[in-house]
């Protein structure tokens, strides 16, 4: 649980200290013309960006809890460490590339370069799908080696963690697919810019999660 606590602690401290900063030194019962002029938008971002940020906090909580459960369960005597397939290194590289490709697409969208969106989105999507396919092959290799889900808790966690991560990527791919369709039917960079920017953040986030998870899996 320490890991979860550290993560959640960090989120909570950010939220609470930000809120405290907003609320200290104000005397709401005193009439204050400066406050009357304040817009009701606390942060200078779009609603969707705020929505995604909040969702990332939720997802962080989910992953942190899974990893906490992992480290706690690991201490029981029946734990037999799993030898992760070498293929995972390759998959990791692919996911890094997918993230880079998305970032490249984002730069195109930000600078209004509509022509570069198609190749950008295509490459990002294909790389992501390749990563997911690679994960499936890793599963097959494990199964072929006799490492089933139920044979050992270490295996079970491996399947579970990779699956949860994969499901998050699939969710991302759904947004990717909608955006790609739009671009293919002639949308300009401006109209898909926010969507691509947010997807990029999401991809980077899932890359980070994967690297942490892979690190935990490898080191135990």
């Amino acid at each position: 649980m320490t890991i979860t606590l550290v993560f959640l602690g960090a989120i909570m401290v950010t939220v609470i200290s930000w809120l405290l900063k907003q609320t200290l030194n104000t005397e709401p019962w005193v009439s204050d013309p400066a406050a009357d002029a304040v817009s009701g938008t606390s942060l200078d971002t779009s609603n969707k960006t705020m929505g995604l940020t909040t969702f990332l906090a939720v997802a962080t909580s989910i992953f942190a809890l899974f990893i906490s459960a992992y480290t706690l369960r690991m201490q029981e005597p029946d734990w037999r460490p799993l030898a992760e397939p070498a293929l995972l290194w390759f998959n990791t590289a692919i996911l890094v590339l997918a993230s880079i490709a998305y970032h490249w697409t984002r730069n195109a969208a930000v600078s209004g370069n509509t022509a570069r969106l198609k190749p950008g989105l295509l490459i990002s999507g294909v790389l992501t799908i390749m990563f997911l396919g690679g994960q499936l092959i890793a599963w097959q290799q494990l199964i072929a080696g006799g490492f089933y889900v139920w044979t050992n808790p270490a295996n079970a966690f491996f399947y579970l963690l990779t699956a949860v991560h994969g499901v998050h990527l699939l969710g991302g791919l759904w947004v990717w697919a909608r955006c790609t369709t739009k671009v293919w039917t002639g949308a300009e960079a401006d109209s898909v810019r926010l969507s691509i920017e947010l997807c990029t953040v999401y991809w980077h986030f899932l890359l980070l999660v994967w690297i942490v998870m892979f690190g935990v899996l490898l080191s135990t």
């Binding site: 609603n47 809890l65 889900v149 079970a156």
Partner: protein, 587 residues
Amino acid sequence: MAYVSIADRDHEIEHHDPQTFITKYVWSQDHKVIAIQYGVTAIFVGIVALVLSVLMRLQLGFPDSFALINPENYYQFITMHGMIMVIYLLTALFLGGFGNYLIPLMCGSRDMVFPFMNMLSFWVYLLSVIVLLASFFVPGGATGAGWTLYPPQAISQGTPGIDWGILTMLGSLALFIVAFTMGGLNYVVTVLQARCRGMTLMRMPLSIWGIFIATILGLLAFPALLVSAVMMLFDKLVGTSFFMPAMVSAGEQMGTGGGSPVLFQHLFWFFGHPEVYIVALPAFGIVSDLLATHARKNIFGYRMMVWALLAIGGLSFIVWAHHMYVSGMNPYFGFFFATTTLIIAVPTALKVYNWVLTLWQGNIHLRVPMLFAIGFVFTFTHGGLTGLFLGNVTIDLPLSDTYFVVAHFHMVMGVSPILVVFGAIYHWYPKITGRMFNETLGRWHFWLTFLGTYSIYLPMHYLGFLGVPRRYFAMGNTDFMPESAQTLNAAISVTVIFVALVQLIFLYNMIVSLRNGKKADPNPWGGASLEWQTPDTPPKHGNWGHELPVVHRWAYDYSVPGQEQDFTPQTVSADEVPVGRDHGMEH
């Protein structure tokens, strides 16, 4: 000021007034309609859970007199009752119901920021309720694992519903969490980003603060329930051993081994304790507003109230293992968690003092919502004090799993939030429906419910001291339980039936007043907060007509000395306040 003064974001909100009946009331994206959908569904399952509790009390009060209640059913009733009340009634009603209704209206927005996702949130919630209720009809019936769903018993022979019941339960919980997350993103972003001009965070009514912080807690804590549910599903369906220890069942070695049931308890209570505050914080917020409005006084210590909400929210994540003193965890944990548990009582107590000080020398109008609010202060104080007992390891050890715990959590999380729910419904009923309810029936409802529930739960503390265990179908013949314990149980059960029937007064009042109630004044209680200043009652789609309101003050300008009226709406600027007695104020 960290606020960003950028142009109004009106243009982000589209104005497509829904035309047909279907888009207006069924697939509605209007936060007010969604709020009512959430509310009605939640109250409906709440009634199911109430009936279940009556069935349990029939067995406890009059053992073995009812053929339809056997030990299996009894466990199923307990489980479904607890889960429905905590999650599908209270969480859904406070956040999906009141959150949806109040956030845009009290913050001065036209709607939630993501209306489509908001609509989806309700429909997924409804689906989760349907899956949950389907539990009763699947082969083997609902799960009987207790609302805490502890493994190994939740999925081992001997517990009812280990085949389908537990699956529908876990599936329904997962759906609920998805629904809550979609709603929760809306509530958080709307509060942060879509308030009207002049509505600084510190001018928000405490109802919004309570709902806002509870939503943040929910977004961070529900994942723990999701994680434990998913892992339990694996244990059940795939045969993993996340939680399942090596077991011999009916003389047979089971395939599982090495799993850690305590791990589940950690995950569950990591969700479970914040969950009690997910329910409590909105109640705290709402009750503050009811007290201030009906005492015609500003809330005492507004800033302290906000900070206390923040402190309770933060601390609620580091007290979870006070539910596990008897679980066999490392004994040193007990010391840590007892300390944090007692610390959380400090901000909680501050809130209680501030409520009482708000009433002090107020111009108290004992209208129906106020009665419920004051009732809450009593029951919550009572339940909070017994929490202090249980927070100490040495006191908890003998009291754990007795009726003392049942009494504690029903006072604090059963009766108290429900009183606030009633108070809040009566308070905002005129705004929501445009009609007044029947005041006399409301009073009867309050007094019978308040005194009734008190006489149900107060005696349970004594049963707990005697050592009467919770979650037992029958007490059997034991020396430590005197004859009178059974008499008391019978008396409690009779009261339960009575109190359950009293709720029919409430339902009758709410439904009949919809048609026959007298037309409500737009601001019958003289409320200063924004929702009372809408151009229409009930508010129309888009809430504010052509122009968004502009806020000039906090929500608690009641009985300000030197002003003619005993309240000043948030929309009135400093120059507009009528002084002396020359003219009345219109809005």
